[in-house]
Symmetry: D2
Subunit: 251 residues, 4 copies
């Protein structure tokens, strides 16, 4: 891959233009705030795309030049064209990374890659969340302490309808009595998928330095290592001629 | 669940009516031969369905009364309606078992549940296959020896484009130089999925007693344990009132 | 295996004879209370063993006739002979099940089978625990609701130093702000290992019907399916003579 | 961590001084040949240690300054002091990487970390091995083609008595009819463990450029990310005061 990971931040970008409270928190959109987090860290080439752009801002050519994509969506999952979701899925299978954020647990690309509903229980009660670090050794959690605390967040609770994660990195505790698998990774095809839970639009979560660190490091970790199409089944006509063993006495 | 597992064997049923050689091996269709294997073992209520029946023989009502489904398809995956594939996927997520056979690795239900291409390399050369038993402790392999040998089979070779299996039970060796993850399990939602590789239509594989044993035991293992819909996200309005600790001295 | 699973409940049995409060909760020892839970459910042949018996009540002959063992230990892990721990480990590798309870996370057999420290953070503050059910489909959790609540328990918090579980079945929420992977399974050799967190000696946890259900079902699930020694490396002198493919045209 | 990974190659170093054929292949010992592979690649600080040195060349101080260790042993596993094996195990749990080579599958450090016998079937028949690449996306297999072929190697066959690998990267095909999980990874504590199968002392395996690439990349991947002791259970005396939710209406 190239020198800097090429990051494409996709955002639904509706709450920010329809709701004053959200606009106050994310005046340039959630994608804008996330782009700032990458700029702050340095070493990434970042672009953004939003739902209401032509083709939702997603084309095969653009994905071919993307090493890792972030996805934030919530109220308009159904508005995303199936063709776009398939395009993202196939880019992941060919090696592109995908970091799915918060309410993206019900987005079309995530559901297609997981094969499950992605459902969970939820509550909005301005409650405290603590994300516990299960893997201080993992590159995504480099520099992250034993737990990260957010004063107020939306609650997501188990059962989270997902396939068994390849890696479970953080688990959340919520004030109101629930727990959640909050940072998880899966490999799909040649690509890496990360889910990062926090980030409800009515809270300043993406301004939190630790959450920014986790999101940026998730993207760095998911960055494509290879990129190759695996959508065909090759017919192998060669057949290995297998001689007898050469050793006199098999032991 | 009921007393006997309710098994639905789905078969494409085209090779058997279009090709004399295949008809000779499977005069009642592959589904018919598999149904005999279940009857032989006893303790199952078996029905069958085929592609060219109305609705491919698959309705929500029928799936609601199925504990585990088997799927054999090959040349007409595209002919299966998307609605049918989605129906099977959702039945699995709600608890139904699914045993995907041989060329079903590219079937719509399997691909939807895995999220990957399901591609692999292949060769037809009448070559020997040996399936090695990695899990003599697993119920699917009860009574299965260290390896099962098939004199002639189609070759399937890695890289098999699947998510990391939850359990890898058998690996195949092929005479011509390839290897393959041949018996794998995954959980998806509340359901269990098993992939069983052997079973090319031009070989008598489903008459082999050990392969029959593995297929029947895979179905028994995948049989639904619960059945409940998980396609909605419940809003939890209760909030746990959390008193202070009651112990005088926290230690 | 035989008709009824043969269960051996091993208990340290020191707190109950040294501490009045614990004696009040478990007058016949924790092993006695657990034995009652198995009797209540029915269908098990149960024996018990304790630390201060000769050989800690554990001999190769006894283990050979045990299908699944339970282990409760806390303050005297070091008093268990290494030979006993190795004996239990080897029985598991040959197929015996092992259910490790609560403070058994630091017991010698568990540490030998996991290869890790088994460490965690802890607090005694009479606080509330909620165990969330991630796998309503799993036999160990049959009949277990969305969560199980214990009014008072000792807190165990992450990071729990264990290998990635094969299956993560329940996660705990604690009133004081922590989370924990509370019901986990691993396969080791031909045997199954389950860890079940709750059960501090100063609380009536093993009188709770749901905890009893989970412990008994964990034992049923872990019951040996096969029993065979795998401690030797067989030398294979046979060598498969590999002829050329018989098909005229490899396709 | 430092700039260059600090690598410690441990070798039994007996075959090379007792057997002329082996001495001819590895005149500076297997450790010497492996050290050359690291030097060729560049960017590593490499040291070596052998069985017959004082303390087998392994002290806590030396391990504290090692980021990743390689282990080749075969005929003298029993000669390795238990204290040394425990030292290596604890270094891994605190973050050090460990790459176990070939017959190291029965070495004390590997068995302690896995908790299993590490047994397998084997044959010496100068037969061909093909290692198939299941994970072209994995850093350990960067630049490795679809398969790597070795003209002659010792056969290792399943069932390999190991815990389910976290990642299965390569599977071997052997001319005589067996298969094997040849490149596997596990996390244990804060450290990473890799097993790499090929490398029998009577073959020039460690002169093969692709095998050298895999071994070096395994070491790079397993290099410690953090280093911290996790052998104690911290008592947590703080207790989170949990206020009621602040939102007027919980939704």
């Amino acid at each position: 891959m190239g020198t800097n990971p090429r990051v494409l931040i996709w955002n639904e970008y509706l709450h920010e233009i329809e709701n004053e409270e959200v606009a106050g928190l994310y005046p340039n959109g959630i994608h804008g705030t996330l782009a700032e987090a990458f700029a702050e860290r340095g070493g990434f080439d970042v672009q953004t795309a939003t739902l209401r752009e032509a083709n939702h801002g997603v084309t095969p050519e653009r994905l071919a030049e993307t090493d890792v994509m972030l996805w934030w969506g919530h109220k308009a999952h159904a508005e995303v064209a199936d063709e776009t979701a398939i395009m993202v899925q196939e880019a992941v299978l060919s090696g592109m990374g995908l970091v799915v954020l918060h309410s993206g647990h019900m987005s079309k690309p995530f559901k297609r890659l997981m094969g499950t509903h992605g459902t969970l229980r939820w509550r909005e009660a301005d409650e405290k969340e603590r994300l516990w670090n299960l893997r201080p050794d993992h590159p995504i959690l480099e520099g992250v302490p034993e737990y990260v605390e957010l004063a107020q967040e939306e609650m997501y609770g188990e059962r989270f309808d997902i396939p068994e994660p390849d890696e479970l990195l953080m688990m959340s505790w919520f004030q109101g009595g629930e727990v959640f698998r909050s940072v998880c990774t899966w490999r799909r095809g040649l690509g890496r998928v990360v889910y990062v839970r926090p980030g409800h639009e009515t809270y300043p979560t993406y301004h939190d330095p630790m959450i920014r660190r986790i999101v940026v490091q998730a993207a760095a970790w998911a960055t494509a290592r290879v990129r190759q199409d695996a959508s065909r089944c090759p017919n192998t006509t060669s057949f290995e001629p297998v001689p007898n063993p050469t050793k006199e006495h098999i032991i």
